[in-house]
Amino acid sequence: MHELTTTRHNELVDPVLHIWGWEIPVYLFIGGLVAGIMIISGYFTLKGQFKKNPFSSFYLPHVSLILLSLGMFSLFLDLEHKLYVWRLYTTFKIASPMSWGAWILILVYPALFLNTLIRIPDRFKGVVPIFDRLSARINEHPFLIKNIGVLNILLGILLGMYTGVLLSSIGARPLWNSAMLWMLFLVSGLSSAAAFVHMIARDKYERQLLAKADNAFLTLEIFVIGGFISGLLTSTSVHIEAAKLLLNGPYAAVFWVFVIGLGIIIPLFLQLLAVNEKVKHTALPPLLVLSGGLILRFVIVYAGQYSHYMHQALSR
């Protein structure tokens, strides 16, 4: 028997840590989605395939600027000392993933903005003349377009990785303390972005291409989740207990049903049928993928806060 009784009862900390509510999972999901969008859009820009993939190349960067702003607003809502948010930009702390993230986000905006300038949608032409001139200048130099593509891919990878590193660097929470987490969030972000294009794009070729890409990302995600879980299961006892939270603990039902089943396996099956022209492309599989990606962030953030050295020592 091992029983702990404490007189401490600090809000958000006891009996179980729950400092991060809906704001952080939503921010991590949107951050991952925007990262995936930057990589996909940047790839088409780099490869000169932007005419074949009009939504990914010309409209997605505009959408992602709005999405990223929503994500950052969500992050802002989570801060307890909101008026001091500017302090993030008075220093750079090399050991702090959150500091890295704050500065990466500052770099992401201009990269996305440059991507939007490659082709300004007709309805916005002439609204801000300087943007039209910049757009014309960029289009005169194909190497500039390629560099914008490379910049978006690199910053997209950094942004996607950072959303995972932010959690995995926190050693006090055994569930997060995995080197696979950044890969999981990056692949999930790519999958969500591909699903987003699959859902919204009108061009048949583009939908088909992104559905195929999404199938590859979803398959990869299954292996990464397998690696993530097996990494925890082959680690110390607290990490094994942390893995059990997802496998057969309080978060298992949501994890297996909404993340693995409805978020990966079923949409993968439906999209495989769609790309092989057995069924029509519908919005259902991408909607399931996007929901699965969001619920994955909720499960990881909530179960991670639940996982603890002390509690798990007691549960043995």
Partner: protein, 179 residues
């Protein structure tokens, strides 16, 4: 260079909570929050049970993850005694430090910043013991410089068996519990 630490004799501690009250009074800790607290740790199998009563607080780690993860530098190691402190006006309330502390020793002050035990650094700078140590009726708590081999804390650690909390987390805590 000094390295402040605290040695707590769990044989003497009766869990009276004087240290908790003294801390709240000295530091104006808001209602509903604690910078220090009492833990009763019961192990064994009935009828051979063993109970350890501990006064717990921030472990003032030598390898403080709360400082490393802080994006603004609000959480920092003080130049005197290596005490981990929070600069309130630099804290944005992101709560990364709360997540990174394996002891859950931090909380969010109602004014929005992360708060925790400071080893009563305002008293220590005047060579006065932290409030919790000063009021302890059983004298189970000893505060001092771990780097000085002649300090009371060093002598206690040299002469008695002790343990720290969650050493496997690798934070090198500087609160020692005599057994």
């Amino acid at each position: 260079m000094a390295r402040f630490g605290m040695v707590i004799d769990t044989v003497k501690c009766v869990g009276c909570m004087d240290c908790v009250v003294a801390c709240k009074t000295e530091n104006g800790v808001p209602e509903g929050f604690n910078r220090d607290w009492i833990t009763q740790d019961v192990t064994g199998r009935n009828p051979s049970l063993h109970m350890e009563i501990r006064s717990e607080r921030c472990n003032q780690c030598e390898n403080p993850p709360c400082v490393y993860c802080c994006p603004t530098g609000a959480s920092h190691v003080h130049e005197i005694g290596g005490v981990v402190l929070v600069e309130h006006n630099m804290c944005i309330g992101c709560k990364a430090c709360l997540a990174s502390c394996p002891y859950d020793a931090r909380f969010i002050h109602p004014d929005g910043y992360a708060d925790k035990c400071t080893f009563c650094i305002h008293r220590v700078e005047k060579s006065i013991d932290p409030a919790c140590v000063s009021v302890c009726p059983t004298h189970c708590m000893t505060f001092g410089d771990l780097e000085d081999p002649n300090s009371p804390v060093s002598k206690l650690l040299a002469s008695r068996k002790y343990h720290t909390l969650i050493p496997e987390a690798g934070t090198k805590p500087h609160i020692y519990y005599l057994v």
